[in-house]
């Protein structure tokens, strides 16, 4: 019975997912001259060459699917830009990223059943996906057996053990992020189906970032249901899951969208610099300063958050208060990523790589911000001969898009769910330094009770070899620990407890684990 329901749920989910994917290829694109005039005036396009080219190749022509439409616009853009650059007509060059530019035109030009039936297609994709996955997840209450740690079969499952399904999920996620970050003009249809929700919140049509935010919240909510069932014996996990879900939906999604409705800057109050790496970029500073008292409040809040609130909270509770209770990246990792947590690499080699990498990104982000602020206040475009814009672009591409998105989430099924947090997040590196050297947090080892079974290390998403400490009777103080609490949950002998206590002897290591008198 339960098995039938789960199979049915999986089937419905896959139908929803297939339709969602199919949307990319559907729809017609036809740009009217009226719509184009609006684009020309909105974007302030001065290139006659481009306008003429579009008039002959695009206007009033019907394109089936987004690809030809996009490539035609982009080739017109490239031809005109090349010519203007050659003639040094800098004001005629269109500086937008080609696919972002094409996105803005395509969003206007799209037509067809999806644009006309947004609600229906929302239901056929999101609706079926949510319904199907809940149907698949909720019977776990019965199939998992009585409350307790039920990791049965994780290493026999193709999805969670890097089998072909795992690789399939990997390819799917990577493809999703590549489309989202680099080809938004291909996913116009996805944005159409969430337009009504976007309009009801901010009043605007949905951008690809609104789509991403909405999808993010949806995925987290559904997978949080799974967490509630899987860890229903563990109140720490239940509260933690509720907390990350709350901060994602309210702080990262609802509040910023509502701020936009009131013509305030879009701002996520919990997203601390340097994770929020463009906080000090001149466009953001200008936008904050231009929006008056509220903008200034955000500016001050952002600085205080990073310099005071974050480290003080880490002192009292460890970096977990942020990384596994508040953060959005952590929130996705702890919900969607939970089935993959054991895939993190536990070797010493990985730990060494991690330290170079994550602190390197922190240094890079601080350097970039230094350049940015210098340029902002001095007005010069370059520092020491390096263009500030160039270094910002490199950071945004390598760290902001590739690392945080494509690798950070795409690689869940291969390298585990905290690849970004462990190797790439500059905020995690900063919090880690505080946690390692000045924090009351540690994972206490319970005397000599460890039996070296390795459940803790296996299920540590940050790749910490927890057992190496526990079997020595040493408490665990590690900069990378995000305090998810799963090592403690899976320990079969009650050896591990996350707690905040006095700083003295926090890294004390006994010569022998408790139990032997050696008289």
């Amino acid at each position: 019975m339960t098995e039938t329901i789960q199979k049915l749920g999986l089937g419905i989910f896959l139908i929803g997912l297939t339709l969602f994917c199919a949307l990319v290829f559907l729809g017609d694109y036809e740009l009217s001259s009226k719509q184009f005039e609006k684009v020309i005036s909105d974007k302030g396009i001065k290139s006659k060459l481009f306008i003429e080219n579009i008039n002959t190749t695009i206007i009033d022509k019907k394109f089936s699917g987004p690809f030809k439409f996009s490539s035609t616009i982009i080739s017109a853009l490239e031809i005109s830009n090349a010519s203007h650059k050659k003639n040094k007509e800098w004001n005629k060059v269109i500086w937008d990223k080609p696919h972002n530019f094409s996105y803005q035109i395509a969003k206007e030009a799209g037509s067809g059943p999806i644009k006309e039936n947004k609600g229906l297609f929302w239901f056929l994709t999101f609706g079926l996906g949510i319904f199907g996955s809940l149907l698949y997840i909720i019977p776990n209450v019965i199939t998992l057996g009585p409350p307790g740690i039920k990791n049965n079969g994780i290493y026999f499952n193709s999805t969670t053990n890097k089998g072909y399904l795992g690789w399939f999920v990997f390819i799917f996620l990577v493809a999703f992020y590549v489309l989202l970050y680099f080809f938004p003009d291909y996913i116009i249809n996805w944005t159409y189906i969430v337009d009504p929700i976007s309009q009801s919140l901010s009043g605007n049509l949905a951008s690809q970032w609104f789509l991403y935010g909405f999808l993010y919240c949806t995925v987290m909510t559904v997978m949080a249901v799974r967490m509630y069932i899987k860890y229903r014996n563990n109140k720490y996990q239940i509260l933690r899951t509720t907390s990350v879900l709350f901060f994602q939906i309210v702080f990262a999604f609802l509040i910023p969208e509502i701020l936009v409705r009131f013509e305030k800057p879009w701002y996520d109050f919990k997203n601390a610099f340097p994770l929020d790496y463009d906080f000090f970029f001149s466009w953001n500073l200008n936008s904050l300063i231009e929006s008056g008292g509220f903008g200034l409040f955000i500016l001050v809040w952002g600085i205080v958050l990073t310099l005071v609130i974050v480290p003080v909270m880490v002192y009292f509770f460890g970096k977990r208060w942020y990384c596994s209770w508040v953060c959005g990246c952590g929130g996705l990792a702890e919900t969607l990523g939970d089935p993959f947590r054991h895939l993190s690499n536990k070797s010493i080699g990985a730990w060494k790589f991690e330290r170079w990498m994550v602190h390197g990104v922190l240094a890079f982000s601080l350097l970039m911000t230094g350049f940015t602020l210098y340029s902002y206040f001095s007005g010069s475009q370059a520092v020491l001969g390096i263009k500030t814009q160039a270094i910002q672009n490199i950071y945004g591409f390598l760290i902001g898009s590739i690392f945080a998105g494509v690798i950070g989430t795409g690689f869940y099924p291969i390298f585990g769910n905290r690849v970004w947090c462990r190797f790439g997040c500059p905020l995690a590196a900063y919090l880690g330094l505080v946690q390692r050297f000045k924090s009351r947090f540690r994972i206490t080892t319970n005397g000599g009770q460890c039996i070296s079974c390795g459940n803790c290390s296996t299920y540590c998403e940050m790749g910490i070899d927890v057992r190496a400490y526990a079997q020595k009777g040493q408490d665990i103080v590690r900069s990378s620990c995000v305090g998810c609490g799963v090592c403690s949950a899976v320990c079969p002998r009650g050896v591990l407890k996350l707690e905040n206590g006095p700083l003295e002897n926090r890294t004390f290591s006994p010569e022998f684990p408790l139990g032997n008198t050696l008289k």
Binding site: G148, Y236, F508, L514
Partner: protein
Amino acid sequence: MNAPPIIVIGNGIAGITAARHIRKKSNKPILIISKESTYFFSRTALMYIYMGHMKWEHTKPYENHFWKKNKLNLLKETVTEIDPKEKTISLSNESILSYDSLILATGSVPNKFGWPGENLKGVQGLYSKQDLESLESLSNTINHAVIVGGGLIGIELAEMLHARGKKVTFLVREESFWNNVLPKGASEMINLHILSQGIDLRLKTNLSEILENENGRAKAIRTDSGEIIECQFVGLTAGVRPNIDFIKNTTIASNRGVLVNKYLETSEPNIYAIGDCAEQQEPLENRRAIEAIWYTGRMMGETVAQTLTGEKTAYHPGHWFNSAKFFDIEYQTYGVVSAHPQEPEIHFHWEDLEKEIAITIAFHKDSNLFLGINTFGIRMRHEIFNQMLNNESTVFHVMEHLGDCNFDSEFFKSYEKEILSKFNQDYNKEIKLKKKSWTRIFNSKIAK
């Protein structure tokens, strides 16, 4: 010419701990011999491989490069003979090795009691890596398994097979699970828990014989009441015995295990025995001569390492402690709680059967001296109880400081008030709970 090494036979927790601690203090050559696996693994984790929680590589507490780095040489071979006079051992590949000192850490083998059919295909214990491999190779052909023997390995094997979707019948000779260790109340709670998991638990039931099919494989068992239970697998988990058959034909004195004095020395010079295979000639008070426990194996390893690095040290473990997990119920014990207490030992027992939580505290009827605690479904701090036992605290002191003792995860419901109120009621006291103190907790942690 190279000096002969310290040879350790067996790479379980006892042998490996000995080798590691010798290396910490000395540069002597060390050779560890085992046929079971090249690298040390945690025996307690074998069950998690079968259940799909882990893979083999996760059971290894040290990465493969650890051994070379620490100059601990590993040899995957079987030792066939020991010659204490020549100070040599022979291997099954017929080579002969000299030793400087020899540490026997050969562990256990599952007990067999001469049951008809006990050597059939599909009949085995669960102790070694090879046992696990054998079970895995049979697994696809098992629908129904019978487990014989209600101890810790028995219940783990039941959990393993159950996790893989097998129907499990669990034969327990006693009238309640593990009641030679657990007092009545707790033992009965575990009975109910086993049943609630869907295990066919048969108390007061013995195995009479194992029946064979035409291919020489077990097809059913017959119980002592004559009932025939069809099955494709029989797990023999009626305890373990020291794995010393190859030592029996040497001059090293042995009984059930290799006999050792308090320095873990055998009857032959420069030969020591530690862990499951060692039998104490003069067991310490309240302790058994053979303790096949992870923790005691570790402590004997630590002890013999001191002796072999110049500081002759007697085996003197501290207060008894142990732990286990019965399906979803975690169990910890500190100090001594007798299964069948005799005055002056008396027991205070509190339980919440619906939540499957219980504690039993043993104390002295007259002096109120705290003797020990069993806890089920509540985690407790080892250091705090160790200190209370060291300080010869009273049961009243323990009850007052339950807040310090608790080791459950943050936000878990605490039962201290309920426990204390039952205690006050049972013994007509008015003890009040003291606030949890970080100072006391962390002082107990660093106190030696």
